[in-house]
Symmetry: C2
Subunit: 156 residues, 2 copies
């Protein structure tokens, strides 16, 4: 548990630094085999990138460092409960274990709409705030058929 | 509707090209005021980035081009129904309208676990496949307090 606390404190330290440096109040750390692979903070406003949450940044950094898109065997420490984007990116990266500190309710209280997005996900598509139009599936499916037929594809 | 089809066909075209070029079978286009701002495909395996889905790539590209993290007033055309990561990133980017063609069920059939992740989201945390540990909220909350107190912060 001692190491877990050390890694989480590193994520928290980044979140504190980030506030001072003009980023969002979030930090994340990716760990593999007891070693820190990546440490990142939220840089949405600094990088003009709405996807640059701490967890996404840490995952991108870890993948770059390890030369892979597959972080199986890694753990992630997030100073706040991941939003749906970050949680899904953790799944896509195949990270098996998540530690977090602040909650989505805490995030909501300081103006980050994590809970709102989670609620949207739970609604049927037609009741969500975003307008959705389905079209041209009959044409788009060709790419999926080609993918299936491709013999040298890199599965992920 | 004619323009909508034109934009969706551009996303589909990118998805087809992507399969030929070694990327995943997905394309996305961001449009503002009837003009294409960004066109992207999935580059997870090409870039070693599990977050590099077509929609995320298109959003990042559009933000870079427009010099903002806020794509209010933009629309996104995705050759496939967005996975939870991409859908959340569309919310964070404040895109108001989404067009898609293939569905998450189609994606699942060719080996992309979009539906699996949506199902995980609907489960209580303790029943998800990813292990979750909560810790040190009492220390992490300091960053949120500092954020609240900060007068020159860039809200988003």
């Amino acid at each position: 548990m001692e190491n877990n606390e050390k890694f989480m404190r590193l994520a928290i330290e980044k979140s504190l630094e980030s506030v001072d440096n003009g980023g969002g109040p979030f930090g994340a750390v990716v760990v593999k085999d007891g070693e820190v692979v990546a440490v990142a903070s939220n840089s949405v406003t600094l990088d003009n990138d709405p996807t640059a949450h701490a967890e996404v940044n840490a995952i991108r950094m870890a993948c770059k460092k390890l030369g892979t898109f597959d972080l199986s065997g890694c753990e992630i420490y997030a100073s706040c409960e991941p939003c749906p984007m970050c949680l899904a990116s953790i799944y896509w990266a195949r990270i098996g274990k998540l530690y977090y500190a602040n909650t989505k309710v805490d995030a909501d209280k300081i103006g980050f709409s994590d809970s709102f997005i989670y609620e949207e996900f739970a609604k049927p598509e037609s009741e969500r705030s975003i307008k959705v139009v389905k079209m041209l599936r009959n044409e788009a499916i060709k790419a999926f058929e080609n993918w299936e037929k491709k013999e040298d594809k890199v599965d992920y």
